[in-house]
Point group: C2
Chain length 240, copies 2
């Protein structure tokens, strides 16, 4: 802001996506196998450079998400996570990447991207265990951490669910993301009691075996009152 114009260094700006979902009773993340160097063949977050000097950053995230998953922004939760810009994170040149956290319901199957990269769902535990391109391991940790925290005091959990869902499905989201068992009865009492969290549709599930469950839709609230706090042990585990 106070430098002369000629001293401003040029930087390449990328947008990366951490797309989370719950599939097969696991927290999973969308990853692509890189088709080009560096890190050719390694797993990486989907993303890419700005398409033009005039492309909006948030717009680039929406575009990349559509390219990789075929999802439109209105169907999901999309928020900026953080910007990563250590000087040596890309061996080619100076790159900073603006990362986004997306939370989507369980999709039938990710489409192959427009490019040669093949996108697929990978359990988060597996992704963090194996090697990943760039600093994407760190980014995934941050994304998961953010999601875990936001379940407590926002209605983010509904973004993991389809348009209509049961209380038990919602509880499974909490349990899987937090890695912690919750009391079904107390959970039911809390979420149905929280203002604007759930709206009953009046419909019931047609299920084999067992009493049909009430179906709910996400309510208008985005903040949870009162909050749904994790156990002490569970949240310490994440920070440690």
């Amino acid at each position: 802001m106070t430098e002369e114009e000629w001293t401003i260094p040029d930087v390449a700006v990328a947008v990366d996506l951490a797309v989370l979902t719950v599939r097969a009773e696991q927290l999973q993340i969308l990853l692509v196998e890189r088709g080009i160097e560096p890190f050719r063949g390694a797993l990486a977050l989907p993303g890419g450079f700005l398409a033009s000097a005039r492309e909006d950053i948030d717009g680039a995230a929406v575009r990349e998400l559509a390219e990789e998953t075929g999802l439109a922004a209105q169907d999901l939760h999309l928020e900026q996570l953080r910007t990563y810009g250590t000087p040596d994170r890309d061996p080619r040149r100076r790159v900073i990447t603006v990362c986004y956290l997306a939370v989507v319901p369980n999709l039938p199957v990710p489409r192959a991207g427009g490019d040669a990269d093949v996108a697929r769902w990978v359990p988060v535990a597996e992704a963090l265990a194996g090697p990943l391109a760039f600093d994407h391991s760190r980014i995934i940790s941050d994304a998961v951490e953010r999601a875990r925290g936001k379940l407590e005091y926002t209605t983010l959990a509904t973004a993991f669910c389809p348009a209509e869902f049961t209380v038990t499905e919602l509880r499974r989201v909490y349990e899987i993301v937090w890695g912690e068992q919750l009391e079904p009865r107390n959970f039911h009492r809390k979420v149905t009691g929280a203002d604007g969290f759930l709206v009953p549709t009046g419909e019931k599930t047609l299920r084999q075996g067992g009493r049909p469950a009430e179906l709910y839709r996400r309510g208008p609230a985005s903040l949870l009152h009162p909050a749904l706090l994790r156990s002490r042990a569970s949240s310490l585990e994440v920070t440690a």
Copy 2:
């Protein structure tokens, strides 16, 4: 990530700081009067472009903070807030700015920056009422929102206080940042009961009039258990 090298647009990367403190019973923010176009003479967040193509982003934030306030990073709370990058936010050229939230104790007085810009404290309410350079009004709103939220479930409030402080001083921080009155007795019980929040020094204040207060230091915890939640009304006001 999938584009050819030659298509990558060059972008100028800036770092801006939202430095908050509590002064004179008000939440205040450090602003500079711009010495150059655009927005010459307008108030703006302190910040600047990367010093070189190899400068770390977090490092740039620390450098700017030292230049503007003379503060070292270890004395305060510094975290990334968000990156702002709408295409037309700077009329000169494409600029994206990585913004940081800093929380500092009540400083004697901000030093003039190394440049011609004059830094000074401005009450947040006043800053948001008047016109500001670029999209800095939005950034300040986001910074204040982040700080308000983080007081609930982290120990961020201690970053507003000097090394040793009383429970009443800490309570004033909460009241001023939240804009809400708190019960002194209940607040005392909660904060002294929260694990790792406060460490008693054994010292007492030498004050005129009134019983001397115990002095505390910030404890090792960064997350607050149990959380210190705002009233329903107060947090809705922010989202509205």
